[in-house]
């Protein structure tokens, strides 16, 4: 059942690519003003799930309610309206490589607001400062490290002060220090910008530290949901194997 605290509510979502069923009747609730983390194996449909939430993919069947509105039947124009409430940090940041750092962060502001150049500049400086990248305005994406690119991507995702921010594997491919810095930024995104964070990850240690609630995706379904403490106590052998990172168990390595 949909709860008042849920900002996104998904009911029996099915999606197949050819004969391969990726989402198999998935139900999921994500809470407002919380850090919601979805864990699961690589290639297990986490990215497919997040792409459904933002409407980049349409399900074969099922409902996706964003703040009570089902986005599945919406056309592209209506979807654009819903998307303005979202920000998304892509796995490889997806910065526009023909634009410098400043232009990347300013891009959504130029497109969707009537702010003047100086107002936009103020916002850009504030967002870059928030992710610890003051003075990097003129750098091109190719000149930045992976961690810097992700922080610019986050600054761009936050530019329009979205209500919901999606993070696609935010710490994959980063060194432990940078990963910790990004995890801190995810928590600050919730605290300082008041955004609901939805993170997909397979980084268990970080998930246990920063999540308010965790959902585990396995074989196209959510098989466990709860606080980090509840997930740690979960008795399902699949969950236990995944949390402990063991090669032996019901999850087959292939």
């Amino acid at each position: 059942m949909q709860n008042d605290r849920d900002i996104i509510h998904i009911e029996s979502l099915y999606k197949s690519f050819g004969d391969f069923r990726v989402l198999d009747g998935l139900d999921l609730s994500l809470e407002r003003d919380r850090v919601n983390i979805i864990i699961g194996r690589s290639g297990g449909g986490k990215s497919v799930l997040i792409k459904h939430i933002i409407g980049l993919l349409k399900p074969d069947s099922g409902r996706i309610l964003v703040r009570g509105e089902d986005i599945v039947p919406l056309n592209e124009g209506e979807m654009a309206r819903v998307r303005k409430e979202f920000g998304m940090l892509f796995q490889e940041a997806a910065l526009f490589d023909s634009l410098n750092v400043h232009e990347n962060v300013a891009f959504p502001l130029h497109e969707h607001t009537t702010k003047s150049y100086s107002e936009i500049n103020e916002v850009v400086q504030a967002k870059l400062a928030a992710v610890g990248l003051q003075g990097m305005d003129k750098k091109m994406p190719a000149e930045l490290s992976g961690g810097m690119r992700k922080r610019v991507g986050l600054a761009r995702a936050l530019a329009l002060e979205p209500k919901i921010v999606l993070f696609d594997e935010p710490t994959s491919g980063l060194d432990p220090v940078m990963a910790a810095a990004i995890n801190e930024l995810i928590q600050r995104t919730r605290q300082e910008f008041g955004a609901t964070c939805i993170v997909i990850s397979h980084d268990i240690d970080a998930t246990m530290k920063i999540a308010d609630n965790i959902s585990m995706l396995y074989e196209g379904k959510i098989i466990a949901r709860g606080s980090p403490a509840e997930i740690r106590e979960n008795s399902d052998p699949v969950v236990r194997q995944f949390i402990r990172g063991e090669a032996q168990g019901p999850i087959k390595v292939n």
């Binding site: 792409k51 933002i54 980049l56 592209e76 654009a80 309206r81 998307r83 303005k84 979202f86 998304m88 892509f90 796995q91 490889e92 997806a94 910065l95 526009f96 490589d97 891009f107 959504p108 497109e111 969707h112």
Partner: protein, 256 residues
């Protein structure tokens, strides 16, 4: 025998399917024509990239095409004393046929490939998805400005190409092979009509639409990382070139 026919049929259906998808992309792009936001700067940027930056290579190849054309026709025409017609032959060939085709093929190689590689890279690095997530329609933002720029700039480049080709013909015919300059120009005026020129320009517009549309299409549906980008870029150049030459035949049959 059956398997060969089956293979041919399969190939043909694949081709039809692809052409259908290209048409769908074209219609999507055209549906954004005249709808805000306009982003005039994107259009000028593409017109500069496709048009202005191709100027040198188009001028150079057209000059030499005119030159070699004069050389070859002079050799043939001198067998029956028709040397003064070399100018008219070069001018007609350039305006009706070679100007638009050479321009189309050169711009395909220079700009069509780059369009495909750029959009393809944006696709595989999720920049196209990033546009969508930022509530910006990627067809409107990436595809339409390029198609419009191609349709506008190719005729302009073709005018330069026609002129350079005739100049090349003049240099070889008059300066090198001693055809009388006045006769050379006179025969051009006598035989080339305005319709020859603007039918050529209409062709060029169509070629501009083809090469930008195919470049965008191949880029837009790129999969599989850097290798995929390379593959689609090659396919874009081959497909554009083939479509330009095939459509050239049908346009010519319709127009002249």
């Amino acid at each position: 025998m059956r398997s060969i026919l089956g293979w041919l049929g399969h190939q043909f259906l694949g081709l039809l399917q692809e052409l259908g998808r290209i048409m769908v992309l074209l219609l999507q792009a055209l549906s954004w024509l005249g709808r805000p936001p306009f982003r005039i700067r994107l259009y000028f940027k593409q017109m500069e990239f496709i048009g202005v930056n191709s100027l040198f290579v188009v001028a150079l190849t057209s000059l030499f095409t005119g030159m070699v054309l004069a050389l070859q026709t002079f050799y043939a025409f001198s067998m029956f004393g028709a040397e003064p017609l070399v100018g008219a032959t070069v001018a007609l060939s350039m305006t009706r046929e070679l100007g638009p085709v050479i321009t189309g093929l050169m711009v395909t190689g220079r700009a069509g490939s780059a369009i495909c590689a750029e959009i393809g890279t944006m696709r595989v690095t999720e920049q196209v998805d990033a546009l969508t997530v930022m509530a910006i329609n990627p067809v409107q933002y990436l595809v339409l400005p390029r198609i419009v720029a191609g349709v506008i700039m190719l005729p302009l480049l073709t005018i330069i190409s026609d002129a350079m080709g005739i100049l090349g013909g003049y240099l070889v015919g008059v300066q090198l092979l001693d055809i009388h300059g006045g006769m050379f120009m006179n025969k051009i005026q006598e035989h080339v009509t305005l319709a020859d020129v603007y039918n050529g320009l209409i062709k060029a517009s169509v070629f501009g639409g083809i090469l930008t549309l195919v470049g965008c299409y191949k880029g837009f549906y790129t999969r599989g990382g850097a290798e995929g980008v390379g593959r689609s870029t090659t396919q874009a150049v081959v497909m554009s070139s083939v479509l330009i030459l095939v459509s050239d035949y049908f346009l010519t049959a319709l127009m002249f």
